[in-house]
Symmetry: C2
Subunit: 132 residues, 2 copies
Amino acid sequence: MNESVFKEIKWNEDGLIPAIAQEADTGTVLMVAWMNREALQLTIEEGQAVYFSRSRKKIWRKGESSGHRQTVKEIRIDCDSDVVLMQVVQKGGIACHTGRHHCFYKRYESGHWISVEPVLKTPEQIYGQPKK
Amino acid sequence: MNESVFKEIKWNEDGLIPAIAQEADTGTVLMVAWMNREALQLTIEEGQAVYFSRSRKKIWRKGESSGHRQTVKEIRIDCDSDVVLMQVVQKGGIACHTGRHHCFYKRYESGHWISVEPVLKTPEQIYGQPKK
């Protein structure tokens, strides 16, 4: 792959860039996660969203546990080359680990954050019991 | 203002949170910038997007130089409370300092980032000459 694709990115001090997944057919902003160079390269090569988990410090193929993969239709970067925006098709219609369609379900209302999106599947339904 | 609004936010080590501005009537992701606590409070109080400029290290009322203010219709946070998503009305139809409608104008195509959005006004037209 052309090295300039990665050189143009303005990685942060941890070698990461925030990546927004936007649902291609509805425009809904589904989630924001982070990519390192490997995650961006895998996303391009595989056509499925691959992030870098900051908590687990490893490559995270979105949907690897839940099945809720994201097929990537388009990848853009912004003027400063420090944010990625992807147009995706969300498998299962659930992007959030809480079982909601998307992660931005807490809305500011009169001094409080209020949950305003339904849980479509519980985490237990999505992730099931730990594998033996 | 209710202190819990700010306590619920998971600020990063610099006391910042990324904030996405999405155009309310089109769904276009216009830009991503950063907010500190003061910027979020001012955004809520003023109903206009206020960010924290990491380069200038100061509060930045979006549009203070360009006139391209963003009227905020809705503010949400995500499941991890570490990203803000706003629905905004973009004054002048230009969010990007390059004079484009939005900042995500570089699209990945066959190993390159290609500019695919027109410049609606040049930066000179937007920012003019330095004031005497």
